[in-house]
Amino acid sequence: MSTATNCLHHLFEERRQLEDYQGGMPRWCKGCGDNAILAAVQRLCRDEGLRPEKTVFVSGIGCSSRLPHYMRTYGFHGIHGRALPIAEGIKLARPDLHVFVNTGDGDCCSIGAAHWIHAIRYNMNLTVLLHDNHIYGLTKKQASPTSPIGTKSNTTPRGSYLDAMSPLTVTLGIQNASFVAQAVDWIPEVLFQIITAAFRHRGLSFVRILQRCPEFVGNMFEPWVHDPQRMLMLSHEDGIKVSPALQKIYRNQIEHDPSNIDRAREIASSEDPIPVGILYRNPEVPCYEDLRRAGMLRTTGSIRSTLESEFDKFTVWP
């Protein structure tokens, strides 16, 4: 689309309010970190001026996956683990739509793990938000793949047996990873900045959001929430810039260039302090929908001529 046409579109577009993106009343528990993610996402939609009818939030199953119901855009609340392939189908069929994926640590890293790996490889232009609270919430407290070892849950009453997997290191290990970031629900300003950068990245942006679940693992992130020094803020001119006000609280900062994948992998493996920011970004990775030339105009003529030439190939003439 030409710049002039773009300008005209903007001229005609109404300025939307937050309410224009707000759907049903959230039914998450009091204090649930998902509320912070919802607020950040609604703000993003408003600030980026997304047309609600052109925006689709796709989710799987779990607390995280209720998010589309609370938006006033199109939403697709799918089945457990399959949000990513559904979103890919949507994007390939309709590259004109803004497609977001909300998924949880069980949904993405356990039952949907195969899709997660391949979604990174396809690198379609999707914004994927991993609501990682380290526990299964909707099914009432079972250990998830990201639960720290020793987590007591209904299926691991004496503590979970395995070391947690790191969604960041896994994602950074997959071919075609193009945007990997980490945010936490308790620093909403940075969460918003990161989600914005993720949305603006062309390719699959994977944002892991550490999210509190006060109902089942209330103390999971307590030490980090209460000790800002245990947060590692990644700042860079190509990453996010921490505001002066926040800088006073979160003093543990490093400069990290998001184009440096080796350093990104190193930072990703740190559990304490928790790194926050953009770990990796590579806008050069091709998007699957571009490789497949999705959204190409199909005409009756093109279908007909292809069919007729195929018929010719197989025809036995009298």
Binding site: F76, H77, G78, I86, T315, P318
Partner: protein, 641 residues
Amino acid sequence: MNAAAELRPRGVPAGPSGSPAATKQVVTLDEAVIEIMSDSGEGAQKCGQSFGSIAARMGNGVWTVEIIPAEIQPPARSVAGASGNRIRIGSRAISNGGDEADLAVAFNEQVLLGRVNAGELRPGCIILLESIWAESPDPKIAAQYAETLARLVAEGYRVYEVPMEHECRALVSDPRKGKNMFVLGMLCNLYSLDMDLAREQIAFIFGKKSAKMIQSNVALLEAGHAWAEQHLDFGFRVPAERATEPQLVINGNTAIGLGVLASGMDICAMYPITPATSASHYLSDVFERAGGIVHQAEDEIAACAFAIGASYTGKVAVTITSGPGYSLKQEGIGLAVMAEIPLVVVNVQRGGPSTGQPTKVEQGDLLTVMFGSHGDAPKVVMAVSTIEDCFYSIITARRIAETFNMVVVVLSDASLATAQQPFRRPEFSEDWLAPPIDQSPIPEGAKPYDWDPVTGLSRRFVPGQPNGMHTLTGLAHDRSSRVAYDPEINEQGMHARSLKLAALQRMLTPPTVFGDPEGDLLVVGWGSTKGAIEESVERLRREGHKVSSLHLSFMQPMQPGIKEILQRFRQVITIEANWSDDPRDELIDETNRRYSALAMLLRARYLVDVDCWSEVRGRPIKPGTICEVLRRRLAQGASRP
């Protein structure tokens, strides 16, 4: 007594001065079944398909069946490694692979043995056997050859030893690669096929390669023809009337691929699985030219979810699979049912359960596609019965999916997948294509699931339509797509989704009975058995039996008028390629007998005492077998009070 063995003793290759064929007698036949078998990679399939295509061009009815080993490179000279083709040609249209073969060509005696042991050759069948093995330096091979030859002769087969490799050596450096065209030439001679058409066929199949390649293969063809003319004292003619309309010669999976293209669908999501994949192979080759995309997903579940996502945005998408893949897709299919997202799912059935018999035919998935996915998940189920049907059913399936916002499952099987049969070249119609995606604003106050109380139908809102924003969900939901916790609403949704099947059923016409509308015995079938069933019915009717048949293409909903048809016959039996208990088994009685899928459905739906006969031998059911079953049944029926 074996004329050929006397004519040319074993081990002595026939030279140009061999037995003269001056006394060659050409016998006119109504039809013939020919099998060509080789090791994998020796080109018997190409030979068989070419033979079928030439016969089709001459106007013969043709049906070809691929004989496929399970492995890509099975050991050479092995019984299980037979790769080739069965071709049945006739003066009239041919609808199935027929009975035991009349003539078999084998590139070695081992690949032939598998077919002999499976009872695929008729008694006294003519066998043209490559004789090079008799001279093998490996004494084991020479002994195997001698032993098999002796056995075949003893069993009464008319075995002709043909020095294929010797003859080809004069023409090409690697005779192993050229034998198939030599054999094609022999067959053209034996069945009086037009050599000009044969040369054209070679030019067509090697068209992408060099002119030299074409020349060398034509030379092989001609050599084979000359050899048979000179050395074989028999020949046949299956008279044909040249077709007046152009015919398409393709297999079922290609027809499915063409159907997807013709239906105007944009996206096919799939995961490799036998025997469905060749449909996607074909589509991958041509779809992009028309702007379509074949997406090979990371697994079957993803392929289904991907297709659902694509469908959700406006245009119906398709996913193509076989049994195990279908099982994996079931949860996704349930989502599409619940959220009323149109979707076409093609299941090219193979032997099951589990990995079963991947390359073999079976009709074992009917109940699973009808009732599969947990809860009540009503979907449309269609079954294709001919190659032509494979093409048109996909177009129909897309339309039904879109009109009713439903999942439409199209059942094909391994037999149709690779069988070829000419059918009238379709004439393009714009009605085949999907309409453009609706992006018009939704009127204020309209609801995404505003179920019509009579039909259950509602207008679908797709992304991009202003005012249509809602969150679609697999949870029970109300008319506004809000999660429903209310018992009333859950029942309303179930009701609406179920009603759509009834609404579709009201649009269908009653099926046509093949034969008289009443009689002693009605045979009911579905899917690829159609040709064999109808042929058996014809044979029995010629014998004076009052037999008719009914072939169903809509399995769910079933067409109206079926009960009335069933009631006009004294006995009803289904013939199916799936499991059913044999009532003669010691432990089996009416209280525990497991019926074949269709029989079970007909009994449940129409309260008619429908019996069944089935076979799960991994091969198409032969018309001769069906005839025997039906004769027995008629005799039993006659003895009843």
